[in-house]
């Protein structure tokens, strides 16, 4: 069964550093999303991406964040100048029809 994959599973970084979180969505899906989940809290929407451009972003997704689909398979989230409060699980999701979203296993980001 096809699934969304994410790398790395755990990323530790120093405050102020840049990180890139990688996702490989399900191959025939057209809609891509990033969500984050701070420990013990609900899953929060960050950004949606369709047709090679951002379709919507939350107020969390400020200039510190960017997304890219560099090739036909990868979807990346870049966080510049990381802050302590960026520590969270980051989930990538993809969807064929814009409704049924399938989530990856997540990347745990720890900012020290």
């Amino acid at each position: 069964e096809p699934e969304v994959t994410q790398t790395p599973s755990h990323q530790v970084t120093q405050m102020g550093q840049e990180v890139i979180l990688r996702c490989v969505p399900i191959s025939n899906h057209l809609y891509f999303y990033w969500y984050r989940q701070i420990l013990g809290q609900k899953v929060e929407f960050l950004v949606s991406f369709y047709n090679n451009e951002i379709s919507e972003k939350s107020e969390i997704f400020d200039d510190q964040f960017s997304v890219e689909r560099p090739d036909g398979s990868n979807f990346t989230l870049k966080i510049r100048s990381t802050k302590l409060e960026d520590s969270a699980m980051y989930f990538c999701a993809s969807s064929e029809t814009s409704n049924e979203q399938f989530f990856g296993p997540g990347t745990r980001l720890t900012v020290l």
Binding site: V4, F45, N99, F103
Partner: protein
């Protein structure tokens, strides 16, 4: 208006019992209501979903009941098993929100053997 309110925060059920988790939404533009199951350290997994044109959807032991006029929907887990112990999130999305999912705060379900 984008909130999805979920209750209870935690739930303990005996094996074989019925688990019921409730959600309420405010945005009438929402037209898709999924439930996700999340085990510790894993990503949310789509469990079952419903659209507002039906009042109930059943898949195996899992049933969603939907009340459009009350803007509420609930998840029923029949014959709950210890393996169902997980966090359950309701969510909602719609064309007016570019289909981003708005999640409830989650319910930690514990099924005792």
């Amino acid at each position: 208006q984008q909130q999805v309110k979920q209750s209870p925060q935690s739930l303990i059920v005996q094996k074989g019992g019925i688990s019921i988790i409730n959600c309420a939404y405010e945005n009438t533009a929402f037209d898709y209501f999924p439930w996700y199951q999340q085990f510790p350290g894993k990503g949310p997994a789509l469990l079952i979903a419903i659209r507002p044109d039906v009042s109930e959807k059943k898949e195996g032991r899992f049933t969603i009941s939907f009340n459009k006029s009350a803007k509420q929907f609930s998840l029923h887990i029949m014959d709950s098993q210890p393996g169902d112990s997980a966090t359950y999130f309701c969510a909602a999305s719609g064309p007016g929100s570019n289909y981003k999912l708005t999640f409830g705060k989650g319910t930690l379900l514990t099924v005792n053997p």
